[in-house]
């Protein structure tokens, strides 16, 4: 008897998504989909607004990574006032980087400690009531306390630069609004209500040891679960180094061959296009010259590890080398290694923050530049979840007439759909009863990508999960509930 399984909503992700799995009469998975079922329309409703409002408006896309949208938009708006990343004042560039690396640090901490760690610490067989941040806190109080303070450190960096932890104002067209003070710098160097940046580096290294040990203990699972070949996309510097704020677009295939050879960000539209499906509001971007089937790419921490030649801070680079020597390949296509990659990036962010705090130029008040007005601006940044594109066209009066956003999670749309299919085929086929733990495995695969469905489409998700099993006539055969 044909069946359809629905997981709605998917839990411990940002926003609202749904999974449906279709089984045929023999209990074989015919297909599986990860749907984004609500619509936002930011690209449309900012049309007609003056360009200088945009960096503030687009922050409302997200409560987790508003800084990423703020800065991607700011980079695009800089171009509208004739300022390119290379001509931004050094102080403004460094302040933006401090803001951005603080943002990535706190977002990665949120994902690892609050959202993903229950999957890693407890496993899918444990009661759902345990698989949450409170469960983690009860099981490992030291880990929980550190996780909370690491997130707080990143949030305090954001507050110091932008005035607020969420939806502050920092970047203005052509630069930054205000400078950093020596008092603020010393607060993070020496520690205060939050530990010092040195402590953040020390704890980030501890987390790398933790995840390495975890891989040793669970290698069979982590090396196979939701593992499949894919392309990888990210920004790199001109020398091939990882750069989260600015660089050139590089993509590779699953074997490491370049499919996009370090092209400037302002020509992205020449290489990328997006497809749509009738069952989701989230688009499917891909490289034009490879087509939809071969041109899609993962983005985010794992992709960034794969595309960069090295990480330009010593401890994180050591971590990156250990990461690749562990698997023995130059390209890693294992979804669950994304958590490890994310922790390497946390260490990198902490190192960069320390470098910036020790840079006297951070305190300079040379904050803004201007140039010749243009009608088009493109800002691309490596957000916590991956490559984020903001593209605006204005009229002669400076009003937005066209906007295109390619959000990180949108790039991962195809990858997440493949992950859902992989898990469905491995765990749900030919099962007489569908258990909550089986369904949680579908979510574990999605969560590894840290999807921000709010950014990609729409807002608040209700957290309880309910899966319903239907026969081919639409009759409900089984209901499985989850509140994790």
């Amino acid at each position: 008897m044909a069946k359809k399984i629905i997981i709605d909503p998917v839990t411990r992700v940002e926003g609202h998504g749904r999974v449906t799995i279709h089984l045929n009469d023999q209990g074989t998975v015919e297909d599986a989909f990860f749907h984004i079922v609500e619509f936002r329309g930011f690209e449309r409703f900012i049309q007609g607004r003056p360009y200088w409002e945009v960096p503030v408006l687009v922050q409302r896309l997200c409560g987790i990574c508003p800084v990423s949208h703020h800065l991607a938009a700011a980079k695009a708006i800089d171009q509208l006032v004739g300022v390119d990343p290379e001509t931004l004042s050094p102080a403004a560039d460094k302040l933006r980087r401090l803001l951005h690396y603080g943002q990535v640090f706190q977002s990665h901490a949120l994902h690892f400690f609050y959202l993903a760690s229950p999957d890693l610490l407890f496993g899918e067989e444990q009661p759902v009531a345990l698989r949450n941040v409170v469960g983690v806190a009860m099981a490992d109080k030291e880990l929980a306390r550190k996780g909370i303070l690491m997130r707080k450190f990143g949030q305090e960096i954001i507050r110091a630069v932008a005035g607020k932890r969420i939806h502050g104002v920092a970047a203005v067209p052509g630069g930054m609004y205000q400078t950093f003070t020596a008092t603020e710098r010393d607060y993070f160097l020496q520690g205060g209500d939050v530990p010092s940046v040195d402590t953040m580096i020390e704890w980030s290294q501890e987390m790398l040891h933790f995840i390495r040990d975890y891989h040793d203990e669970h290698r069979a699972w982590l090396d196979t679960f939701a593992s499949y070949p894919s392309g990888h996309l990210g920004l790199v510097r001109t020398d091939g180094a990882l750069d989260l704020y600015h660089g050139r677009l590089r993509a590779i295939d699953s074997n490491g061959l370049r499919t996009l050879a370090d092209v400037p960000t302002d020509v992205y539209a020449k290489y990328f296009t997006e497809d749509v499906e009738r069952w989701s509001y989230m688009k499917f971007p891909y490289l034009k010259h490879l087509g939809r089937e071969k041109g899609w790419n993962r983005v985010g921490p794992l992709a960034r590890m794969n595309v960069c030649d090295y990480i330009p801070t010593p401890l994180a680079e050591k971590g990156r080398r250990g990461f690749f020597s562990y698997i023995g390949n130059s390209v890693n296509n294992h979804t669950m290694y994304t958590h490890w990659a994310r922790l390497i990036e946390m260490l990198h962010c902490a190192e960069v923050i320390r470098e910036l705090l020790n840079d006297p130029e951070l305190l300079s008040d040379d904050l803004q530049r201007s140039g010749r007005q243009r009608l088009e601006g493109i800002g691309i940044i490596e957000a916590p979840r991956g490559t984020l594109t903001h593209h605006y066209v204005v009229d002669e009066r400076g009003k937005i007439i066209r906007c295109n956003l390619i959000v990180s999670t949108t790039h991962n749309n195809e990858a997440m759909n493949r992950a859902v299919r992989w898990v469905a085929r491995q765990t749900l086929e030919h099962q007489s009863t569908i258990t909550e733990s089986m369904l949680n495995q579908v979510e574990v695969a999605i969560r590894a990508y840290d999807p921000c469905l709010s950014c990609a489409t729409h807002a608040l998700g209700k957290m309880p999960l309910q899966a319903e099993l239907y026969d081919h006539q639409g009759q409900c055969l089984q209901v499985v509930s989850n509140h994790g």
Partner: protein, 160 residues
């Protein structure tokens, strides 16, 4: 932070009456009673447990969709071990529970709920919500003649 009181307003002022928590903080800021520290939140998160561990008293203020006699209610808010299921969207009781478990602190806590009526996109409170807010703030100042921290019973547990 010693004897200060932490007051956390929860909500979103872009969603109509969901902004009641923040609007209440705005009123408190106009006429402070003792040593209040005001914090605006879209939602509570685990790191708020760390913050409230530094305070002997905490007041949560949130909008409420249910009907409340007089338009508001002010009640003690105990830690709730069973409420922390939603990871980065915590209830006041769940965060208090986290605070107790992680930091060995149990601040005296209250929850002020103010009835709202409209939750659609848009700024500004409904007339009924504004009336409820006025009543709630008046009651708050009357009830807490002294800063909350002066109220009896902040409990400090052994650090574990």
């Amino acid at each position: 932070m010693g004897n200060r009181t932490l007051v956390i307003g929860i909500g979103n002022n872009s969603r109509g009456d969901d902004g009641l928590g923040w609007a209440c903080l705005d009123r408190l800021a106009e006429r402070p009673l003792g040593a209040w520290q005001l914090e605006y939140r879209y939602q509570l998160a685990p790191e708020d447990a760390e913050l409230m561990a530094h305070f002997p008293a905490v007041l949560f203020i949130d909008a409420c969709a249910s009907a409340l006699p007089g338009g508001f209610s002010l009640e003690p808010c105990p830690p709730d071990p069973g409420a922390g299921l939603y990871t980065h969207q915590q209830t006041p009781g769940a965060v208090l529970h986290l605070c107790r478990e992680l930091y060995g602190r149990q601040p005296q806590a209250w929850l002020l709920r103010i009835q709202g009526h409209k939750w659609t996109l848009g700024t500004g409170l409904t007339k009924a919500a504004r009336s409820n807010l006025k009543q709630a703030v008046a009651h708050l100042f009357q009830y807490f003649q002294e800063p909350l921290a002066a109220c009896p019973g902040p409990t400090f547990l052994a650090q574990n």
